[in-house]
């Protein structure tokens, strides 16, 4: 990340899953399973491996495995190249698995947005990005 620390922000989503960490790990690291809940991909559980996440909206995210600690933590870059800086995105996604009495606490943290990239969320359909852009104008105008 080249952005100054002050420009980055993060999103954290956490959830308790009634399943053991080993099972979650498979869902996070086996390509055919990743495809079922996230996106089509050519992921390999190898640090430094570059892969792509292909969304059904036609967008492709460029990713690289950064850290890999089986059943505990996984992080990779989550970059979206776009000519329009408002849509481009450089970020890092980190999944942390913590065993609990009833299963696993799953935490996802995504870091690396810049404040001027409000519309850049890689998971959204391209049409939605435009849509949110329009909504932003509408809200800015007030009612």
């Amino acid at each position: 990340m080249n952005e100054a620390a002050g420009e980055t922000r993060s999103v954290v989503v956490e959830r308790e899953m009634p399943h053991p960490p080993e099972k979650l790990w498979r869902a996070l690291t086996q390509p055919h399973l990743i495809a079922e809940w996230l996106m089509k991909n050519d992921f390999m559980p190898v640090v430094g491996h570059r892969f792509k996440l292909s969304g059904d909206w036609g967008g492709v995210l460029d990713c690289e495995v950064l850290t890999l600690e089986p059943n505990r933590t996984l992080s990779y870059t989550w970059d979206f190249a776009h000519d329009d800086a408002a849509y481009a995105l450089k970020s890092v996604v980190t999944f942390t698995l913590t065993p609990t009495q009833t299963g696993t606490h799953l935490r996802m943290e995504q870091v690396g947005f810049r404040p001027d990239q409000k519309q850049a969320f890689g998971g959204a359909k391209a049409g939605w990005q435009q849509f949110f852009g329009k909504l932003e104008e509408v809200v800015a105008r007030g009612d």
């Binding site: 922000r9 993060s10 999103v11 954290v12 989503v13 959830r15 899953m17 399943h19 053991p20 099972k23 979650l24 498979r26 869902a27 399973l33 079922e36 809940w37 996230l38 799953l106 996802m108 995504q110 947005f113 990239q117 409000k118 519309q119 850049a120 969320f121 998971g123 959204a124 939605w128 849509f131 949110f132 329009k134 909504l135 932003e136 509408v138 809200v139 105008r141 007030g142 009612d143």
Partner: protein, 107 residues
């Protein structure tokens, strides 16, 4: 935990609903009949879509005689404008799919 942006994402999941809402934003208050004329779906379908938008706080209705007039409530969109809310909503829905997958998987 369902929250404001969850409700909004669901309300906007349907293209016809998005079109109706955009139209109300653009052109101001409209009756169901006028909206139906351009929506390409039946009046009951339009009313149903308006009901969902109303539940999400995105439209307000006003009764005048036998007509019901609908207007957009753009302030309801505020939770979506912040990108952190957008992305959190995205990951929440991914986690929903992940949970479904885990249920189907063998130990």
């Amino acid at each position: 935990m369902p929250d404001a942006h969850d409700v909004l994402f669901k309300a906007f999941a349907d293209p016809t609903r998005r079109a109706i809402f955009e139209r109300l934003c653009r052109e101001g208050e409209q009756t169901v009949a006028v909206l139906t004329a351009q929506a390409g779906v039946s009046q009951p379908a339009v009313s149903k879509h308006l009901g969902v938008l109303k539940q999400a706080g995105l439209v307000r209705d006003r009764h005048e005689g036998r007509q019901t007039h609908y207007s957009a409530q753009p302030r309801a969109l505020t939770p979506l404008i912040d990108w952190t809310s957008q992305m959190a909503g995205y990951w929440e829905s991914r986690f929903d799919d992940l949970e479904d997958l885990l249920k189907r998987m063998d130990q």
